[in-house]
């Protein structure tokens, strides 16, 4: 597979190393001279010096082939957005993954159709929330393109669904219970599964219906 990596910081350099070890062909673009020199020492001709938001630089790096995968992982969100747009809209790159540095910019990536993004801050906050659930629903995975997320809910003692069969619980229309984790074991939810206090329930739900799901399982 041919992969084009824009941005040779920690994310870009480590991705490049791993991709090369996996046997993929990689070109890494880095603009800063000091960084470029260090990267060239390690990766040799795989690294190219230039501004990856310039079309001529992307073309020299082989954007027109096009690469099977484009990683836009510079430290600048505007740059990552423009690199992804040029790749996808200008050269038919099938898959572009963009790094979001400031989570407040996520909405711009969504708006402009760059659906595959990675944001370290959001991931870390997700893990924090997992440790300290505040709102009852913990988001484990966001499926941005589908508008769905996989969430975890811990059934509290006085919750309205305690002792109810899963088949008898009224859920919002775009929500499904997937599994229940209890006593160290996970089982898939069947209509006959009885919910108990302390159960950790995995569910898939649309973004819009998440509050309704929370209400159905935990009460208000």
């Amino acid at each position: 597979m041919y992969v084009l990596v824009a941005g040779g910081g920690k994310v870009g350099a480590n991705s490049t190393r791993t991709l090369l070890e996996m046997g993929h062909e990689v070109t890494l673009i880095e603009q800063r001279p000091d960084r470029f020199a260090r990267l060239e020492e390690e990766f040799g001709p795989v690294v190219m010096r230039g501004d990856a938001t310039e079309i001529s630089v992307l073309e020299r790096a082989g954007i027109a082939r096009p690469p099977e995968l484009l990683l836009a992982v510079t430290g600048d969100d505007e740059d990552n957005l423009v690199i992804s747009q040029i790749g996808k809209e200008g050269y038919g790159v099938g898959k572009a993954i963009a790094r979001v540095n400031d989570p407040r910019n996520q909405q711009h990536f969504d708006l402009l159709g760059i659906t595959q993004t990675v944001c370290a801050t959001t991931s870390i906050l997700g893990l924090v929330e997992h440790e300290v659930p505040e709102h009852g629903l913990v988001t484990l995975l966001e499926l941005q393109r589908e508008g769905l997320k996989v969430v975890e809910v811990q059934i509290a003692k006085g919750a309205p669904v305690v002792a109810a069969r899963a088949g008898g619980v009224t859920l919002p229309k775009d929500a499904r219970l997937i599994s229940v984790f209890r006593h160290g074991r996970t089982e898939l939810v069947e209509p006959t599964t009885v919910l108990r206090p302390g159960d950790q329930v995995l569910a898939v739900v649309s973004d819009d219906s998440a509050p309704a799901l929370r209400k159905a399982l935990l009460g208000s």
Partner: protein, 135 residues
């Protein structure tokens, strides 16, 4: 007016004098100095990527937007956000790199490229001078 440097402040002042209601957005208070003591328009201190800042500046009611911060890619992103999210009909974006200016202009984002203008004007001047000398 998103980005109020030399270009932005001049456009803002001219439009204001022609009767437009104008709000300028810039990250730096220096922009207010460029707008001058007689500035009668609005001013919001902040970054144009921040939707709170844009909304405070009144993008929801804007008839036109000019984006000319000092970053090409920042302008390109803000311009598209103003078009698609806030549905402003007239959006013009300053892009210094001619290749990117063309790329985005072809995809529906009106761009102005001062670099391309300079190249064209300079070429024309030299050609005109050469033609005059030859005749």
């Amino acid at each position: 007016m998103i980005g109020c440097g030399r270009v932005g402040s001049a456009v803002a002042k001219r439009l204001r004098s022609e009767g437009w209601e104008v709000t300028a957005v810039d990250e730096s208070e220096d922009a207010l100095v460029r707008l001058g003591p007689d500035w009668r328009g609005g001013f919001v201190l902040g970054h144009g990527m921040d939707t709170d800042v844009l909304e405070l500046a009144g993008v929801a009611d804007a008839d036109a937007a000019v984006v000319s911060t000092n970053g090409d890619n920042t302008n390109i992103v803000i311009g598209q956000v103003l078009q698609r999210r806030y549905e402003i009909d007239t959006v013009v974006v300053r892009v210094l790199d001619p290749a990117r200016a063309t790329f985005y202009a072809e995809r529906g984002l009106p761009t102005v490229c001062p670099t391309q203008t300079a190249i064209s004007v300079l070429l024309e001047s030299v050609r005109a001078a050469a033609a005059a000398a030859a005749s």
